[in-house]
Amino acid sequence: MTKKQRKLVVAASAFALGFGIMPAANAMHIMEGYLPISHAIGWGAVCIPFLLAGLFSIKKTVSEHRRTLTILAMVGAYAFVLSSLKIPSVTGSSSHPTGTGLGAILFGPCAMSVLGIIVLLFQAILLAHGGLTTLGANTFSMAIAGPFVSYGVFKLATKLKCPKLVSVFLAAFLGDLFTYCVTSVQLGMAHPGTNGVAGSSLEFLGIFAVTQIPLAVIEGILTAIVIMGLETYAKSELTDLGYFKKGGLA
C-alpha cells in the first residue's frame, strides 16, 4: 500500500471506531429490514476500512502480476456459484455455502471482502435474499469475518506442516462455519429479547450454525478440489500469489 492508501484505511478505521463498534467484536444472510437502523449503519461503517484495504490489495496484486487477474475472476465466480446453491441439511432446512475461503487463501482476506460484497449486492437487489439495509452486517460476516478465519486457519495449518489440501479444507470449512456464527451473534445483538444477547445468539446459532455444518464440509471439499486443479493447471499464477511459499502467503 502507498502512504496515501494507508492513510485512507486508517481514516476509515477511525470513522468505524467513531461509531462505537469494536471491529474485533463478533457478524447466512440477514433478511432485509431485520436489523435496527443503528446496527445497520454500524456494521456498514465497520466494513468500509476492510473494503478500502481490499481494493488497494487487489490493485497491488494485479499490477504486480497481471496474469493473476484470471484467478481473481475465478475466485469471484466461485463465490458466486457456491452462494447460489441452496443445499438441504440435516436440520430439515436449507442454506448455502459462502465460497469465500478460496479467495481468502489465494488473495488474502481483504481482497475477498470486495468480491464478497459484489455477490451480496447481486443477491440483495435481484433475489430479495439478504438485503440492502443488512448489507453491512452480511458483508462483515460473509466477506470479512469468514475470510479472515479462512486465511488465519490456512496460515496456521501450513505452519503446523499439515498437507496443503488438508489446510485448504480446514480453512474453507471453518471460514464458512464462522460466517454463520457471526450472523447468529449479530442477530442476537439486535434481538436480545428476554434471553439476553448471549441466550438469543445461542438460539440463532441453533438455527444457522447447525444447519451449516454439513454444508461447510461440502465447501471444504469443493475448495480442496479446486485448489488441486489450480495446482496442476495454474502453477505460475499460484506462485505469483505466494501459494507455494513455505509457511504460507505474503
Binding site: 432485509e32 484470471t70 440435516v90 447481486f122 435474499h129 438460539e203 461440502i218 478440489i225
Partner: protein
Amino acid sequence: MEQTKTSSGKWKTVLILLLICVLIAVIPLAINKDSEFGGADGAAEDAISEIDPDYEVWASPVLEPPGGETESLLFCLQAAIGSGIFFYFFGVMRERHRKEAGNQQ
C-alpha cells in the same frame, strides 16, 4: 504427496470427494422425510418474531421475485454466470498447460 500421484489417481480422488459431497446433500433428504427444507433465514425470521414480538420490519426488498419460479430462474442465472466464468478460465489454463507439456517433449 500430489507430485507422486498419477493423473488418473487424482481423478479418482476427485470423483470420490465429489461423491461424498453429493451424499452429504442427499442423506438429509432421506432422513427428514416430512421437511420441505425451507431456508434457514426463514427459520430465523420465525425465531425473531418469537423472541422480539414487538420488532417491526422496517424495510422490504427493492425487487422481490413474484414467485418461486422466477426466483429459481435468478438463482440459476447466478450459478450459470459463475460457473461459466470459472470453467472458461479453467479450460483456458488446462489448454495452456497441455501445450506447455507438449513443448517440453
